[in-house]
């Protein structure tokens, strides 16, 4: 699993539960190191050991932890870069949802060896969508739940999300747009990034 993914989970745990808890988790995972490097590749076995140690230590179901990780990735100022990259996807939430089809390609443009599962947005009726997450990265759909929820806040829209389970091997998230401009979203300046 790509270091960026492992590193994201590490950032979430450290920021929410503290450095000490993370070191504890990594001790239990017994990988021989305590920090994941964002730009290195780790085996699935290493990632899975870390994930089960996280689940045991936090005493919460993994899907829930992953969803919180997704939310953290968008809403925490520490990882502002990712939120900005996602905001480039569209000027409003619906446009952003449609841009998710390109997400794996966009990710690969940024980091050539980062492979994310294919995503497909199906618009059932205006304001009612299904996001189909293809398999390949276990738990990815749960992370996406968190990302979708946090991005709705970011745009200031109110959405209802529902993980619909698995259909034909792919996980389905239903997205219902309840209200646009429900709250004031966060601003997004194209040029805010200091180069």
């Amino acid at each position: 699993m790509h270091g960026l993914i492992n590193r994201a989970i590490q950032a979430f745990v450290v920021s929410t539960y503290g450095e000490e808890r993370w070191n504890d988790i990594m001790n239990h995972a017994d990988l021989g190191f305590a920090q994941f490097e964002a730009m290195l590749i780790y085996t699935d076995e290493q990632s899975n050991k870390m994930l089960s140690a996280v689940e045991r230590s936090l005493e919460r179901p993994l899907p829930e932890i992953l969803e919180d990780t997704g939310t953290f990735l968008v809403s925490n100022p520490q990882v502002e870069a990712l939120r900005r990259l996602l905001r480039f996807g569209g000027v409003n939430y619906v446009e952003f949802l449609h841009s998710l089809d390109d997400l794996p390609d966009r990710a690969r443009l940024a980091v050539a060896d980062l492979h994310l599962p294919a995503l497909e947005l199906v618009e059932n009726s205006p304001g009612q969508f299904d996001l189909i997450c293809q398999p390949g990265l276990p738990g990815f759909a749960h992370v996406m739940m968190g990302v979708l929820r946090a991005m709705a806040d970011d745009y200031g829209d109110l959405v209802i999300l529902d993980h619909r389970g698995t259909q034909d091997g792919a996980e389905v998230i239903s997205v219902t747009l309840v209200e646009t401009d429900f709250a004031e979203g966060r601003t997004f300046d194209l040029g805010a990034h200091a180069l």
Binding site: A38, L85, F88, V91, V111, L190, G191, A192
Partner: protein, 340 residues
């Protein structure tokens, strides 16, 4: 036929940075994004050359010149600050009614977006600028992560080198490794002998045949020392041409006497290098842990071996001597002169 207003409405959608100039070079229309760059300026009837400096082609100084550039790439710059650079292309309008010029930011887009607070709506949906901004940010973030990794790896490499126990030139143990081994032997109460070996005539090889020859000799010396010792012994290079051999489990001098003779004679075998033969020899001094009363200090034993080595050098080189009480590095002047 479309009216001029209808026409410009269509163009503004596709090219939000378009300009229409009349035959005298005065603006007739300007696209919405272009207007945003100079919000306080009245574009209409203003002269193109008052607002823009044509940087390329350089010969363009009048409206007639400008029309001659039709289809070619134009490089413009605002005369007033911020002096944003723009790229453009001109298409003459029929019947000498002036020209349509479409502009874009080119590479200056990064500053322009910041300077003018532009948003997605300021670019045509088919314009790749937003994708380019995305890429610039994504690549910068990825690059920064890689840079951080490189810094950490470099730090780790330096730390690893500092902690390394191997002499890179000869593959022998280094002084740090020797210190560790002495500490371990003393700590566990194991008997051992410590031999300090210093090469003779090595400086001459280095000076006459060069450092590469010196390196070849050192590598050959290392091989000889490893061959003359047991697997359980430790051979360490502790200085330029100084070596320490630790013989684990040795508590009497007899075996070492024969070994040192063999070692010195093997080291005297000339080493071929680049068609030349490099001849060196060695002097050695040895002490035994059993000759010391506990608690044994590594530094004291190294000092004893060192004194024995100096005595061997004074005795005419290519010799091996055991440490004896009373040995001293006397007459330091003569000693250093004759021995280095």
């Amino acid at each position: 036929m479309m009216t001029a207003d209808e026409m410009t409405g269509v163009i503004a959608q596709i090219c939000p940075m378009y300009l229409v100039v009349d035959s005298a070079g005065r603006f007739r229309f300007a696209g919405p994004t272009l207007q945003k760059l100079r919000p306080d300026m009245t574009w209409k009837r203003k002269n193109f050359f008052d607002v823009f400096d044509v940087q390329r082609p350089r010969w363009v100084n009048s409206m007639d010149d400008l029309l001659k550039t039709a289809g070619a790439k134009l490089h413009l710059q605002f005369r007033e600050s911020p002096q944003t650079s723009l790229k453009g292309v001109l298409v003459p309008l029929p019947d000498g009614k002036g020209a349509l010029i479409n502009l874009s930011f080119g590479i200056s887009v990064l500053e322009a977006v910041r300077d003018y607070d532009l948003t997605s709506a300021d670019f045509s949906p088919t314009d790749l600028t937003i994708e380019m901004l995305y890429l610039v940010e994504a690549k910068s973030a990825a690059m920064e992560a890689s840079r951080q990794l490189n810094l950490r790896l470099q730090g780790a490499k330096i730390a690893a080198e500092e902690q390394a126990f191997t002499d890179t030139l000869t593959g022998l143990k280094n002084r740090r490794a020797m210190d560790h081994i002495l500490e371990r032997l003393i700590g566990s109460g194991t008997d051992f002998a410590l031999m300090h070996v210093d090469l003779d005539f090595f400086k001459e090889v280095n000076d006459t045949l060069g450092h590469a020859a010196g390196d070849a000799v050192l590598q050959s010396v290392a091989r000889v020392m490893v061959e003359c010792t047991r697997h359980s012994d430790t051979v360490a290079r502790v200085g330029g041409d100084e070596f320490v051999i630790i013989f684990e489990g040795v508590n009497e001098p007899k075996v070492l006497e024969a070994l040192s003779k063999r070692l010195i004679s093997n080291l005297e075998e000339p080493v071929p290098y680049g068609g030349q033969m490099c001849k060196i020899s060695a002097s050695a001094g040895t002490t035994l842990s059993v000759w010391n009363a506990p608690p044994i200090a590594a530094a004291a034993m190294l000092h004893q071996a060192d004194l024995a080595l100096y005595a061997a050098k004074r005795a005419g080189r290519s010799q091996h001597l055991f440490f004896e009480q009373g040995m001293q590095k006397d007459e330091p002047q003569t000693a250093t002169q004759g021995l280095s």
